[in-house]
Amino acid sequence: MEDSELKSLILKAQSGDPDIFRVLYKILSPRVFRFIRPRARNRTEALDALQDTFIDFWKGLPRFSFEGEKALDAFLYRIAVRKLSRGFRFWQSYTELEDVEDIVVDDVSTPTGDVYDVGKMLSSLKSEDRNLITLRDIEDKSFREISELLGEREGALRVRHHRAINRLKKKFNYE
């Protein structure tokens, strides 16, 4: 969708019409979910965070000023991260097999046990480390990009990433 069309849709949605907001939701929710899912510990948590993200987006829409699709994504992702970190404070941290059933592996030869371990590893991380590893290792972003996104120093991010991976290696015997 072009910026002009997205802008027109947002302007109309600002009037509070649920039908128009539903259109926005249909267009934007798949990408927001793709952002949220690796950062959530399971699918249910991801869907809950997605719901809360769009409720906040709807409430904040009258004050939102559209400045392009990337800025819109960044706005939604900021809400999503806030919702996820809030969720981490209240939800339990253990992982069930069904929590990682929606993980898709590029390499079909990867043992199921490893896939389960990946899910467990991600679940065991603190919210901010999970976000960092998702950005770096799953979404394949450079530390420079991550630094711009999170507004943190590149060096500090490298150190935090290194320590998080080391903790996982030790905890899950991946030496």
């Binding site: 929606d102 490893d114 290696k169």
Partner: protein, 341 residues
């Protein structure tokens, strides 16, 4: 636990997650709507409560007048308060009990209309026809009929036999009452299964009852000049009714009709057909409503995107209507001029 030498980073790079399914997307949307509507209710409640509480305190302070509000009739000073209280009760009640309340309140309106009629009869020895009523009574009758029909139009189709009988009884009473006013005026309330809402039809050939549907509110005016109504009898039902436009009446009517036609183009949902041809360079969207076709071009391709696009052009159409009418054809070529004809 796995003891091989694979690096954790490599493992992470191999994984992704399944996208959200359509069912999950719809389920989350329902959750958003549930929470959003409860937030709106609370906000509306907060906004309306302050003046309402003040009104109630004042009303109670002058000798239990709030109790009187419940007995207020259309035209009485406390009638609006009575309606506000009814609306709050409707808002607070469980979904399954709303219809019973609507029927109860509509029944009260009809009873109040009967009271006004009886009093008017005793005041005016010549009879109780609408032209014999005082202006004040006419206004009260208009308000009462409006309120009753608005309540009835909100009744859902899932009524049990007893409630249907009650609905019929109220409609009959309303008809009986209207029979004594303009002779041909009839109110028909029928349950529309498709839209899960009662539908209200009102007809009055002599134009004494005018029905105005605006922003979901039904407003009814009772005409009082028989000769005016006769003059207008050949004209369309949706003409402007302002009384002070004698000299400019024709011009005004023409203008109104033009405006109606313009809005029909964008918002009339009769005979809706939407065809989208997705070419390799652009998508051609043809929207036909009531034999009027409009053609748009866009670079959007998916059903969701195209529905959104059409919604921006036809804001009064619901997304469900657009999606059900939209037919998409994929063409493996670029578009040509003939495709835009």
């Amino acid at each position: 636990m796995n003891n091989d030498k694979k690096k954790i980073e490599e493992l992470f790079r191999k994984i992704s997650y399944k996208d959200m399914s359509v069912e999950e997307q719809e389920s989350v949307w329902r959750g958003i709507m549930r929470k959003q509507s409860s937030i709106l209710t609370i906000l509306t409640f907060k906004k309306t409560m302050i003046p309402l509480i003040i009104t109630l305190v004042l009303a109670l302070g002058v000798g239990g007048a709030a109790v009187s509000a419940d007995n207020a009739r259309p035209g009485d000073a406390l009638f609006k308060l009575d309606q506000k209280i009814e609306n709050l009760r409707l808002g607070w009640s469980a979904e399954g009990k709303k219809d019973a309340l609507r029927l109860k309140f509509a029944g009260e309106r009809v009873k109040e209309l009967g009271d006004i009629k009886n009093e008017s009869k005793s005041d005016h020895v010549s009879g109780n026809k609408v032209e014999n009523m005082s202006e004040e009574d006419k206004e009260s009758v208009s308000l009462g009929i409006s309120a009753a029909i608005t309540l009835l139009s909100g009744v859902s189709s899932s009524l049990d036999a007893e409630s249907r009988a009650e609905l019929q009884a109220i409609t009959d009473q309303l008809n009986d009452y209207l029979d004594e006013l303009p002779e041909d005026a009839k109110v028909k309330v029928r349950v529309d299964e498709d839209n899960n809402r009662a539908r209200v039809d009102i007809k009055s050939e002599d134009g004494r009852i005018k029905v105005d549907l605006k922003n979901g509110e039904i407003k009814i005016k009772l005409g009082d000049n028989k000769s005016d109504s006769d003059d207008d009898s050949d004209e369309e039902e949706n003409e402007d009714e302002d009384e002070d436009k004698d000299d400019d009446k024709e011009d005004s009517d023409d203008k109104d009709k033009d405006e109606d036609e313009d809005s029909d183009d964008e918002n009339d949902r009769g005979g809706l057909e939407i065809e989208a041809e997705v070419f390799t360079n652009q998508t051609v969207v043809k929207v036909e409503t009531n034999d009027t076709e409009k053609i748009y071009t866009t670079n959007l391709k998916t059903k969701a995107e195209l529905s959104a696009f059409i919604k921006t052009k036809y804001p009064l159409l619901s997304l469900a209507e657009i999606e059900s009418a939209l037919e998409i054809e994929i063409e493996d070529r670029t578009s040509e001029q003939k495709d835009l004809d």
